[in-house]
């Protein structure tokens, strides 16, 4: 693949993506598209974005050779892209800064966001505080119960957290509700979507902002490992950290791209979030993509131990990368992710997010079968502080 220039002008990645929204939202999306096109080519905007990434987020994030973990496998060398070291503890902030800058340039004093685990909500509340913007975060009432600490964090940062009681009361419903807010308040409001889903231009825009991860890795790998990796691995819920590290590697065809979904209790149980592995194409949240749905086209409830992967859709670009064969998508269970979580804690002194632990778990599966001169690069998309309660509970402890 020598050139890769998707999406097309209407936001399509092959048959996926596009703009599947009510007419009432179209003009807001057209305005956003025009604004983004303007700023995408503006060196001053890029300079501002890069300044924030360097001085506020702490980029570039390092690439770290997990030597003891690699030795433990006796196979491939595993390197970690340390997005967990970013301010607010995950890759989410890269995208939020990009969109918040756009909001500021468009003169929108109010930003809204949807959140599942709360990481994107925290990142949005953080930037809203930094820029003095009003911030409203929509969060499913079920998720609010599970993520009390992040809810409090958002409130500390000055955001209003609105519980969403409709549907399954989780991330997908929070996204619906944020869209409803946006269509009603579009004059003064910018909707900061947290993943590479939603109607065009969101999947493209979020990808562009997150691509900083892969661009850095392309430069860093020759320095720290002497060459590019044999494979890049990342967890996939909506897919923003994965597309962020994959995208700059798409044209490097020798590098395998492996997206790791959440198999939950096991795909065969039906309680999972493995959209690309077990779903089929449909339309949700403004784009065509793979979905977990029943035979009547209703979206089904998903399960994962990691709230950030608990989403019944996936970014349309991943759907395209799957069909085109450029990326592979696999799934690991809650238990496999937990095992990798504990291993990384004990062998490397790094507490990974449960989301990222899925990518680590798949690395743990394939590394032992590889040669010691082969290299895996895993996107460690976030840190696990937020998951203490979940992990403790799984171990029979009550913190």
């Amino acid at each position: 693949m020598r050139i890769y220039d998707l999406p097309d002008a209407k936001g399509h990645f092959g048959p996926y993506g596009g703009v599947f929204v009510s007419e009432t939202l179209i003009s807001a999306l057209e305005d956003l598209k025009a604004a983004y096109a303007r700023f995408k080519g503006d060196p001053a905007f890029h300079a501002e974005f890069e300044y924030e990434l360097k001085h506020y987020v702490g980029r570039p994030s390092p690439i770290y050779h997990a030597r003891r973990w690699s030795e433990h496998f006796g196979g491939a060398q595993v390197y970690l892209k340390r997005e967990d070291l970013n301010h607010t503890g995950a890759h989410k902030i890269n995208n939020v800064i990009g969109q918040a800058l756009l909001a500021r340039h468009l003169g929108k004093p109010r930003v809204i966001a949807e959140t599942g685990a709360g990481q994107h909500g925290v990142a949005t509340a953080t930037i809203a505080a930094r820029y003095g913007m009003e911030c409203v975060v929509y969060m499913g009432s079920e998720d609010i119960k599970r993520q009390a600490q992040n809810v409090y964090r958002m409130k500390l940062l000055g955001a209003a957290v609105v519980p969403v009681e409709s549907g399954s009361k989780t991330l997908k419903d929070a996204l619906n509700e944020a869209m409803r807010d946006w269509v009603t308040n579009v004059e003064n409001t910018f909707y900061i979507i947290g993943t590479v889903a939603g109607p065009h231009p969101y999947p493209m825009m979020v990808r562009d902002f997150q691509s900083v991860i892969g661009k850095e890795a392309l430069e860093q790998m020759p320095e720290v490992a002497g060459r590019q990796p044999d494979a890049v691995l990342a967890c996939v819920g909506g897919g923003s950290n994965a597309i962020g590290i994959f995208h700059p590697y798409i044209t490097h065809e020798a590098v395998r791209l492996i997206g790791v979904e959440a198999a939950g209790y096991g795909i065969e149980t039906g309680k999972h979030s493995a959209t690309l592995c077990a779903g089929r194409a449909g339309v949700l949240h403004g784009n065509r993509t793979y979905l977990l749905q029943d035979e009547n086209g209703q979206i089904v409830e998903t399960h994962s131990i990691s709230a950030g992967l608990d989403y019944p859709g996936v970014g349309p670009e991943h759907a395209w990368l799957k069909d085109s064969g450029r990326a592979e998508y696999v799934a690991v269970t809650d238990d496999e992710a937990l095992e990798a979580f504990h291993k990384l804690c004990r062998l490397e002194g790094i507490i990974p997010a449960l989301e990222s632990s899925h990518a680590l778990a798949y690395a743990a599966k394939i590394a032992p079968r590889m040669r010691p001169d082969q290299i895996l690069l895993v996107n460690l998309s976030g840190r696990g502080d937020k998951d203490m309660h979940t992990v403790a509970e799984k171990s029979g402890l009550n913190l």
Binding site: F20, V21, L25, G167, V183, A281, G282
Partner: protein, 268 residues
């Protein structure tokens, strides 16, 4: 001519405007769907918009969201909704029925198959809320071939370029969403609606219905003075929500009140 075109032609001759109620099929319960449809006709409906429930009704406000959730809890599928239209048709061959819903249930059934069974059941038109014209060319072709009208939404922010596209693709009538926001939102500004409709009529000869924000006889009458059709959804769904055991009589009484107020507009 389609049943929808016939209906508008007849109303034009009579100097009346169309009244189009919307409710979600299978809410408050599956058994009430066909009786409520007949009751709406008895109450003065000219066309029925029958909502197909979806798990993620992104363009709807809380009232229609709740009705969609109730219908889904009742296990209602697109197949059921089409079946109820067939049952309705046994005793009503006049009143056009438009299915209104979201893309995914239609795609899950398959557009070709959907068009075929909907046509056979006596459905007249289809409005897929999350298919703007850009993404609807394929569906319009399939529905055209089956003799079904594809109805599109217009909003206060629809540009002239898009108006042209919608005018070219739309069949039966166009549905002007009078407000920014979701269904069931705030109040309607009839002077503004009147200005917009005049503008829209420069692009299309299709009848234009107005919905979103029509709450009572008074707003219905005001809108009927400028539009070809008045669509009333959330308020009707609220009536059904308030009296689930008496859904059909409640629907009829409510709609009759709107009809009376609207027809008073002839004199105004």
């Amino acid at each position: 001519m389609s049943r929808i075109a016939d209906t508008f032609a007849r109303l034009r001759q009579e100097g009346r405007k169309a009244l189009i109620p919307f409710f979600t099929a299978g809410d408050p319960d599956p058994a009430s769907c066909v009786p409520v449809m007949h009751a709406l006709v008895a109450g003065g409906a000219d066309i029925i918009e029958l909502g197909v429930p979806f798990s993620d009704p992104m363009a709807d406000g809380p009232v229609i969201q709740r009705s969609s959730e109730r219908a889904l809890r009742n296990g209602v599928s697109l197949r059921d909704v089409i079946g109820w239209v067939a049952e309705f048709r046994k005793t009503d061959s006049q009143t056009p029925v438009v299915l209104m819903g979201y893309a995914n249930p239609v795609e899950a059934m398959g557009e070709e198959r959907f068009a075929k069974v909907a046509r056979e059941a006596g459905v007249d038109g289809v409005l897929v809320v999350d298919y703007p014209p850009e993404e609807a060319h394929n569906l319009v072709g399939i529905l055209d071939a089956a003799g079904l009208d594809t109805v599109f939404l217009l909003s206060p922010t629809t540009s002239d370029a898009r108006l042209r596209e919608v005018a070219a693709l739309g069949r039966g009538y166009l549905y002007y969403v009078s407000l920014k926001g979701v269904t069931g939102a705030a109040n309607i500004d009839t002077a503004e609606v009147s200005r917009r409709l005049q503008h829209i009529r420069g692009f299309t000869g299709l009848p234009v219905g107005v919905g979103f924000g029509i709450r009572d006889g008074e707003t219905a009458r005001a809108v009927a003075q400028v539009a070809d059709a008045v669509v009333i959804g959330s308020r009707l769904v609220q009536e059904l929500e308030a009296a689930p055991a008496r859904a059909a009589p409640r629907a009829q009484a409510f709609l009759a009140g709107i009809r009376t107020a609207m027809d008073g507009s002839k004199a105004a």
